[in-house]
Structure formats: C-alpha cells, structure tokens
C-alpha cells in the first residue's frame, strides 16, 4: 500500500549553469515553398538544460497522473540559492496544470546569479524533509489502525535532475541525502505529523549538453545504507533525456507498453482515403499478465521500439463491433496514457474513445487464429484498457434457467418487476449525505427495497390489484417512506374510485387459473380485491400515521362481510372501529360469504353504513351520492379530509 512509489519528490536544479543551451536545435520556421522566396528563415531555437529537464519531468508526471490519479503522489521542488516547493502531497495538488503555473512563476534560471550560493543540495534536503511529511493516505491509514499505526510504512523516491560536476560531486550529493535522512528520522521520531523514512530511492539524473563528453559515469542501483539506495543516470539533454524518463516512469510504476496497430484513419489531405496508424499506450503491466504467464509475450508481437529501450506488445484494432449494452467478461481494467499524447494518431484514437465508443483488440497469433484479448473503452472521460477473457469458459453449457426451480412457471410479472428495478435504480450521493437516522445511501437503498417488497406477488395469477390500472396511484405511493397529505388524498381517491367500480359492477382482472368454470362471481371478486388491497396497505401501516389513514379509509369504504354489518347495526361504538380495522382483513378471509342474497343485503347495508361512517372518518363527498364526479373533486379540495377528521 505504501511502497516507494507512494511518494515521489522531484528535485530540479535551477542554478545558473542549467540555463546553458542543450544544443539541440529546433527549426521552427518551416517555410512553405510558395512563400519562401526572398525571405531569410529564422535561426533555429534551442532549449536550455532547464527547459529540457522541466518538460521531461512534466511528461513523467503527466503519465503518472493519467495512470494513477490517486495514491501516487508527487512533490515538486526547485533548487537554486533557495528552495521553491511548488506543491504539497495533497491530492488536490496532484495535476500538471498547477505545476506548470508554479513553474512559470519560477521562470528559467538566471545566468547572472552568483553560482557560489546556488546548489541543488538545498532541494535534496527539502526533498528528504518532505518525504518525512505524512500524506493524507498515510494519515487516514494510521487513524484507522489506531494501536498498530506504526505498521504504516513511509517510503519514497527522490528524482534529482541536475548537472553534476563529477563522480565525486555525485558522491557528495548522495552523502548529503543519507545524512539528512538520518537527521530527519531523529526529528520525525518525536513528531506526530512526521514519519521516519524507512526506505528511500535516490535517482540522480545528470543532464549534459549534446556534443559534450559526460563528466559523470552511469551507475546501477547500489545500497548506500539500509534506508537509502542510489542510482546515477548520465544522459544527454533533448530526446535522450525524454526517453530516459519515459523508461524510468515505466520502471517506477510497473507500467508496460501496448501498441495499437492498424488503426484506420482518414488522411488529412485526401478525406476519402484512409491509412493505418499505430498508437503506443502505457498502462499497468498487469494488463499483459496473461501473455507474461503463458510465455506468449514474444509471440504476441512484442517488439523493441525507439532505440531499443523498451518493449511493447502489439494488439490489432478490430473494426468496432461492440456496444455499451454488451457485458463483456472482463478480468481487469487499467487506465492508459498515450506515449505521444498530442500526435495526430493518438488524439484521433483518444477522441474516438472519449466520444463513447469502444474498440476490441485482437492478439496476433502465429497460428492465424483470431483471439480478442483486450478492449479500449472510456468511462467518465478516463480511458481504460480492459482485459477480456479469451480462454474457454468453465461455465459453458449450463442448464437453462427454465429447467430449474420455478422454470415452468410462465406468468411471472416480468414487466412489473422491470418497473420495480427502474424505480430502485441507484445514483451517487455526495460523501456527506447521511440521513437523519444516520444511514448511508446504500443502507437507504436496501431499506427501500425492503419496503417495496413487503407485498409483492411474483406471478400474475397471484394478484388482482397489481393487474388493475385503477390501483396504481395507491400502490406507488403506499411503499414510500413518507407520505404527504396530498399523497393520502391520492390514495383515498383511488379507494373511492374502486368503490365506484364496485357499485357499477365493473369486471375485475381476477385470474381464473386453478378454478373451474368462470371463476368467482363479481362480488366475490371484489371481496378478493379488497382483501388484497388491505394486505398491501397493512404491510405499510406502521410506517407513519398517514399510512395508517389510508388503511382506515379502505376499511371504511370496502364491502364488508354481512356478519360484521349485523354487529355494526347492533350499535357498535366508535372506539371499536380502530380495533376492527386490524382484524378486518383476516375476518373477511376466514368467514367468506355464503349466499348471493346475503351478499346483496350486505352490499346494500354497506352503502347505508358507509354514509354514516364517512361522516366520522372523513367528510368525503365520495359517499354513494351524489354520483357526479366533477363536483366531488371540487369539494375535496375545499375540505381536506385530515381537517375534518380532527
């Protein structure tokens, strides 16, 4: 977790000698033939050692931030007569834009500054001090571990870009770093905000102008102490330095290179022709794991490019055939960074991907067989190299789901459950979003699923209410955590509407599955419907007082078994009513009605009864008369039921 690559301190020498020219000339006056007559071309420009160091280190950071947007941190330090620390370990400081702005403020080295008081040593000392500083990630990890906080490691790397005088000078720099580490570790031991350095890698890059002999010799990594190792690279400025830092960033962060080949691109001059281009990408080397393990690395078309410094695996572009609604079996996804970010082929490829398209990549094999092994795809403006499984699946030919449990049932409520899934789709909430009950968003999602499924019949023939358009408003509302008065009103309207339907004897979509003949009679159908509706609402009655009111409305309005009507007639007290609503569902289910005549009587009595009951519970105009719907709605608005209830 906290390896050497967690912290990288860049130390760039800003002393007067860095203002020296790299002597790599760049012709920027590219005169076109038609205009070149009589014009003397401008002298070519050349970058200073400083410019070379800055742009190569920025390139290192660009690749690093592309591939590891978090956890791998850079602290950028410039050293002359004093130290300029351009950013901190904070995650928000980790981007090239901020660094470029800070570098512009520093400007190029001043060749007239007194060389005696300038040194890269100041920067190296500052880098060691900086490595002792705790990062947000280390802090978080230490806080969570509490007692075992000392197990959080502190390691880091210092990359120093300088122009050294000699091997002895290099030795002096190394000694200075070692001494500073020892000193700083002593200080850090007594501080909460500092951590002693357990391991530090010093990478010294000596930059010298082209055409000169180097005064410093290359040296491989060497342990200077148990804490410090050091290596020296002596590199000519210009493209040599660029490829050196490119190799270093790959080594330091376990990167590997993939070249996408055969990318069809329209020619700039001839829009109707297309040629094939290659684009090289860097990414975590695990994206090549399958090749490495199977020993296929060379077979997969790995070649050396650019002065033989690095290897790249070649994958072939397949004409896009994939779309976003296809789920590929993907075993890894790794962020990429193009090596040559603003070349035309690179930006063509990245823009194609950023626009939401995906590309399958084929692994060239000697046998000529075609194996799709990777996919390039972007998510939220970041491009990932996906590793696709290309071997035989152990899950092939499984028994179809229709052969297993529940496989023979044909009337699942597939569409309804689809609707349910849409209603229970997830969305990200900001980190601070915790509700009053202290629940995280994901806990709220689970509790919503619990509420929505309290009564959820899986097959069409098991339900009546969910097959009725008329019930939808109530069914959608009752599952909610909180209801507004308006919601209660909507639910009540739904109930009145059902009462209306019953009075008009509208047919119900009752399943005839399993019953002989035509199925239950009309009033029996309504009894089943009311029972089911009560079951649904009862499941939510404990949620709030307003949910309770919906149940009360149903109990008051629904057709009731005659026995109860009798009891009611015998002078039931108002207090009994609450009690009854609880039992009502069960009672009706258990008792059932016997004869049609009895039922008819029941209906008539219910209507009578309802009138009186409506007076008590809600002064609703939905009692049997008047039958005109329009004025009813108007009255409702004037007299909200909750007011009349009080």
């Amino acid at each position: 977790m906290f390896s050497v690559s967690h912290k990288t301190a860049f130390v760039v020498d800003h002393c007067p000698y860095m203002a020296e020219s790299s002597r790599q000339l760049i012709e920027c006056d590219m005169l076109t033939k038609s205009r070149s007559q009589g014009v003397i071309p401008l002298a070519p420009v050349s970058k200073s050692l400083w410019t070379c160091a800055i742009e190569c280190s920025m390139e290192y950071c660009r690749i690093l931030f592309d591939v590891y947007p978090t956890w791998k941190l850079v602290n950028y330090i410039v050293s002359d007569s004093e130290v300029h620390i351009l950013n901190s370990w904070k995650q928000e400081d980790q981007n090239t834009h901020e660094l470029m702005a800070a570098l512009a403020a520093v400007g190029p080295p001043n060749p007239r500054q007194d060389p005696e008081c300038c040194s890269v040593l100041h920067g190296l000392v500052a880098a060691v001090e900086s490595l002792c500083k705790i990062t947000e990630y280390q802090h978080e990890s230490r806080t969570t571990l509490m007692d075992t906080a000392d197990r959080v490691a502190n390691r880091g790397r210092i990359i120093c870009l300088t122009n050294a005088k000699s091997d002895t000078h290099v030795r002096m720099l190394e000694d200075c770093v070692l001494e500073t580490i020892q000193e700083q570790n002593k200080r850090a031991a007594g501080s909460d905000r500092l951590m002693p350095i357990q391991q530090c890698e010093l990478v010294l890059v000596h930059i010298y102008p082209q055409g000169e002999e180097t005064l410093v010799s290359d040296r491989q990594k060497k342990e200077l102490s148990s804490m410090l190792s050091s290596e020296v690279h002596s590199v000519r400025a210009g493209r040599y330095l660029a490829s050196k830092l490119n190799v270093l960033v790959q080594q330091h962060f376990d990167l590997a290179s993939t070249t996408i080949t055969n990318i069809p691109m329209k020619e700039e001059q001839h829009a109707n022709t297309s040629a094939n281009y290659d684009v090289e990408l860097l990414h975590h080397r695990d994206a090549h794991m399958e090749f490495i393990k199977s020993g296929d690395l060379h077979m997969a078309g790995s070649t050396s490019r650019d002065s033989g410094l690095k290897e790249t695996v070649t994958l072939k572009w397949c004409t896009p055939r994939t779309n976003s609604v296809e789920l590929h079996y993907c075993t890894g996804a790794y962020r990429i960074s193009p090596v040559d970010v603003n070349s035309r082929p690179s930006s063509c490829l990245t823009n194609f991907l950023l626009n939401g398209r995906s590309v399958l990549l084929e692994q060239p094999r000697k046998s000529g067989s075609k194996v799709i092994s990777h996919m390039l795809s972007s998510h939220g403006g970041e491009i990932f190299l996906h590793v696709l499984n290309s071997t035989r699946s152990t899950l092939e030919d499984p028994p179809s789901i229709s052969e297993g449990c529940g496989g023979r049932v044909t009337d699942y409520r597939i569409t309804d459950f689809g609707e349910f899934m849409r209603e229970n789709r997830l969305t990200p909430f900001p980190d601070s979003m915790i509700d009053a009950a202290g629940r995280t968003p994901v806990e709220r999602a689970k509790s919503q699923l619990e509420r929505y499924t309290r009564y959820w019949p899986m097959i069409i023939s098991q339900t009546t209410i969910f097959n009725m358009q008329a019930v939808v408003p109530l069914a959608n509302l009752i599952v909610k955590d909180t209801l507004t008065d308006e919601d209660v009103l909507t639910c009540q309207k739904t109930v009145y509407n059902l009462v209306d339907m019953e009075r008009k004897s509208d047919p119900l979509p009752i399943s005839t599955v399993g019953s002989r003949g035509k199925g239950p009679k009309r009033d029996e159908q309504y009894r089943i419907m009311w029972n089911e509706l009560e079951t649904l609402v009862k499941a939510h009655v404990g949620t709030s007082e307003r949910h309770q009111r919906v149940l009360e409305c149903i109990s008051a309005c629904r057709s009731k078994p005659p026995e109860e009507e009798e009891r009611k007639k015998r002078g039931r007290k108002r207090e009994d009513k609450e009690d009854k609503t609880e039992k009502n569902g069960k009672d009706t289910e258990e008792k059932g009605w016997t004869t049609d005549s009895e039922r008819l009587k029941g209906v008539m009595e219910r209507e009578k009864d309802e009138q009186s009951e409506c007076e008590i519970i809600k002064d609703s105009p939905d009692s049997p008369e008047p039958l005109n719907k329009k004025p009813r709605l108007a009255t409702e608005e004037q007299q909200p039921p909750e007011k009349s209830k009080e």
Partner: protein, 519 residues
C-alpha cells in the same frame, strides 16, 4: 474451477494391503474406490465441474480429457493398467500443460494427485527433482508453482507413519510449499481399508467440493440458490493485515444499474446462480442417498412449477438490460445479470468485484449509492434520457485537455505552424489565433523557454511585413500587437509574464464591435 485428477499407475500401487476379510485389495483398488466416491459426489452435487483423468508412471497419459460426463470418468477408472516407476515431475508438467491448453492461465484449477507415496528412486524421483529445483535453466523449470491459480491436493494411499518413515512426507510438503502453500496433503488413518479411504476422500469433498448454498435476497423477496463454482476466499494484497475475505451466504441486492452504466466492469470471477428447492426440513432435495428417482423427479417437477424469485429476477434483468448490485460481505460487492450462451440458453450469473469500497472508478464509492428517488431531481431524467453515471473525475486526463508537449520537435513545429496558419487568415480567425497563441505562451513560460517567445514574436512581425495589399488592415494591427505582447512576456517581467494572463485581441477601429463579437 476444473479438476485434474493425477493418478499414480506405477507398479508400487499394485502392492497388496492386508485386510481382515477374505478378499485381497491392492492400493490401486483403494485409490479407485476413493475416486469413485469423489466422482459420484460430483455427479450429484457438483455436476457442472469439468474433470480430467490423467495417469502417470515414468510417462503420463490423459485417460479422459476435461468432461462433465462422470460415467466416462468412472469407466476409465475401471480399466486402469499398471506401468513402471513413479516420475512425478513430468506428470505435473503434463497437467500444467493440459490445463493451460484448455483453460489458459487465469482460470483457477484443482489438481488431485492420488499416489501411494512411493515417489520413485534416482533420476526422475521427486526427491531428485526437489534437490535440483534451484539449478534449472529457463526452459526446464520445475512445474510448480503452476502458472494458473491452483490448489494441489495430495491423496496418499498410505498412512502418515508410513510416509514419515521415509522422506516422502517431507518431499510432499515441499511440493505444497513450492505451490505457494496452496494445497493440502491427506493421509489415511488407521489400517488401509475401504473405510479409511472413504473417510479420507470424504474430507477432500468437504474441503474442496462442498456446494455453496446461499439465500438471494431482494428486500422481502428471497430464493435459495447454489452458487457455482463456489466462490473461494479472496485475499487483498494490502500491506496492513491481509485477511482472506469470504462471500457470505446471505446475498443481498442493494439496487439496480443499467448495463450501459456498469459498462463491462473488471471482475474477479463469474458464477452461475442456480435456484434450488429446499424442503421444509431444510434439507436440499437431491442430496443424500436418493434411490427413489421417481420421487425425485416428481419433487423436481413440483419445484419447477412453484414461482421462484431467481427466475423473475433473471427475466426482468434480461428484458430491461440491467444488472443488480449485490452485497457479498462488508465492503464487498458483485453484480447479478442475465447471461446467454451460444445456444441461446440464458442463466442468472453473478460476478464478483474486487473487495473494497470503490471497485469501479466510474461508480464511485458503493456506500454512497442510494435510491434515485431520494435525489432532489430524477438523475435519470423524466424520460430516462440521462444517467448519473459514469462519475467524472475531478481532473481531466492529459489526453482530454489539449496539453502541450514539445518533447519531439514536431510537436513544437505543429504548434508554431498552427499559429502562423491562423495569422494568415486574420481577422476571420482572430479567436483561434489568440487561443493558440496563448497556449504556446503558457507552455513556453512554464518550460522557461523564453527564447521561443522571442522567435515567435519575430515570426509574427515577419508575417506582418508579408501581408498582401489586399489584406484586412486589422490583420497588421493584431500581428504587431501579438508580437509585442510575446516580447514583453519573454522579458520575464512579472507584469507581462504571469501564467494565468491571456493576450487579448487589440481593439481597433477596424475590428470595432464586430471584432469584439468574435472574441
């Protein structure tokens, strides 16, 4: 997780074992008895497992390639032949090859080695192999550790005392160590007989072939399921306290996401989720000795006819093109989705994400995903035209923000030419001209490349002199203005060289309102 059975067919396996009864057994017979038991178990409870049977002596031979046909495997067991001496290294290499050929190197595989523990003598013996393990050249490496994730189970048709008397046990333990500790050695307890071989294979079955049963839950809707292949514990490679994580037997759905939003996520493994019928006593139908197949069929039919949540879920996931996000344990999630094979048979599948709070960068932290209905505004839009995913990172990546890189000379030349091209089309291209000019200016300032600013200024001044008579008068003004601004910046004077400062077009009589409009 396929299984490769590696059966010792050397002569030593024909050694008789002394038994109390009348019939005389060879160790080979005990091995066959144990494997028969294993195959029977798999045929009943683990029938989707692919198994291969390989026999070995000084040579090795694939008797049955990977198959789910346990009758064929059983048949091969009944027709074993006896060969010469034991030479394990070649056989392990053989197994390694056949597994890689069939399944590649990422599919985990179990290797069951059945041997009497007489591991050969001299060259080709395991002892010799292990002694020379460190002196191998690149292409003659010892086959362990296997290049694919693996478990090596060694079933010894011998008891521990017997193996400890020689160095066999040490050698076998070393073998497991070479495989990164992934595996186990089983020995027989007590006398070598059918009963003890049964108990030994019973332990293997419990360890490696017990089916994984769980309850799939979506609120109050539930289904009993078998997850195949069973999910193995996962250890995250963290420095602090690496603890293996196991999938809990309560798989709780937390919500739903569109396939396009989850977008081919990387997964650790894939599993079939098969609904199972559990009868009232809580025993699974089909386990135990069920001789009465008729009864079994009828119970299966019953199970087929009663509604099951898995089937409902599968159907809707398929129709809607969605996945269900499922919690596998603390801070560990996976997804359920419908997967169709080439024969159009479809199934409910579960893929496991990497354990952790943020397995997919484009979904963000899973604990921060909540019901869309809680949001102030429907994140999917009223007509389902929007999506809250993917989550955008705070900073754009380099390839998405037009960065300036001049490492190659061509990069710099392209940028200079772009400015000159626009300079020749002034005043039409005023806006692009200044945009490109400012981009170059910023980069030159950051890189401390003041010389470039001076050269660019000279180039613009020259363009000014080359303007034709028909050129718009504004062009000359803009060019000299831009050149002057660049020169000022190249002086390093903080007033003109500020990074965030932008050169703005000069307001001229010619550009007037129209010019300002363009900017």
């Amino acid at each position: 997780m396929p299984t490769a059975v590696l059966l010792d067919s050397s002569l030593s396996m024909t050694r008789p074992v002394s038994v109390e009864g009348s019939e005389e057994f060879q160790r080979k017979n005990l091995a066959v008895h144990g494997l028969t038991m294993l195959f029977e178990h798999m045929a009943t409870n683990y029938r989707l497992e692919f198994t291969s049977l390989v026999s070995f002596s000084s040579l090795w031979e694939v008797l049955v390639p990977f198959t789910r046909d346990y009758n064929t495997l059983q048949e091969a067991l009944n027709n074993l032949e006896d060969y010469d001496k034991t030479c394990l290294e070649a056989a392990l290499q053989g197994v390694s090859n056949i597994v890689q050929q069939e399944w590649g190197t990422s599919c985990p595989c179990q290797v069951v080695l059945v041997t009497d523990g007489a591991l050969g003598i001299g060259r080709g013996s395991l002892r010799h192999s292990l002694q020379t393990v460190k002196q191998r050249v690149e292409d003659k490496k010892f086959p362990l550790p296997f290049p694919f994730p693996s478990k090596l189970y060694v079933m010894c048709i011998a008891n521990a005392e017997e193996l400890q008397a020689t160095d066999s046990m040490d050698n076998l333990e070393q073998l497991i160590n070479l495989n990164g500790g992934e595996g186990q050695i089983y020995t027989m307890e007590g006398p070598l007989c059918l009963k003890s071989v049964q108990s030994m294979f019973g332990k293997l079955i419990d360890q490696a072939y017990s089916p994984f049963h769980a309850v799939l839950r979506c609120g109050n809707l539930t289904s009993d399921v078998q997850v195949f292949p069973r999910p193995e514990p996962v250890t995250i490679d963290e420095e602090v306290d690496p603890m293996p994580r196991t999938v809990q037997t309560d798989l709780e759905i937390v919500g739903f996401i569109e396939i396009g939003d989850i977008s081919s996520p990387p997964v650790l493994s894939r599993h079939l989720v098969l609904p199972i019928a559990v009868n009232k006593e809580g025993d699974e139908i089909g386990t135990g000795a069920t001789d009465d197949t008729e009864e079994e069929t009828s119970t299966n039919q019953m199970a087929g006819k009663s509604p099951n949540f898995c089937v409902l879920l599968h159907g809707s996931l398929k129709v809607e093109g969605m996945v269900a996000l499922v919690q596998l344990g603390p801070d560990w999630f996976g997804m359920l989705y419908s997967q169709a094979d080439s024969k159009k048979k479809s199934n409910l599948m579960m893929s496991l994400f990497e354990p952790g709070s943020e397995p997919l960068p484009w979904l963000g932290r899973i604990s921060q995903l909540g019901p869309a209905s809680d949001a102030a505004e429907n994140p999917y839009g009223e007509d389902d035209s929007k999506s809250p995913f993917p989550i955008q990172p705070k900073h754009k990546r380099s390839y998405a923000q037009n960065v300036t890189v001049w490492i190659k000379a061509s990069g710099l030349q392209t940028d200079v030419q772009k400015i000159l091209r626009n300079a020749r089309k002034l005043p039409e291209k005023t806006q692009t001209f200044y945009k490109e000019l400012n981009r170059l200016r910023k980069a030159a300032l950051a890189f401390g490349f003041w010389e470039l600013l001076k050269s660019m200024a000279e180039l613009l001044e020259r363009e000014c002199t080359l303007l034709s008579d028909s050129a718009h008068p504004d062009a000359a003004f803009q060019l000299s203005h831009a050149a002057q601004q660049l020169k000022l910046a190249s002086s390093g004077d903080s007033k003109y060289a500020a990074y965030e400062h932008n050169i703005t077009p000069m307001l001229t009589d010619f550009s007037g309102g129209g010019g300002a409009d363009r900017i």
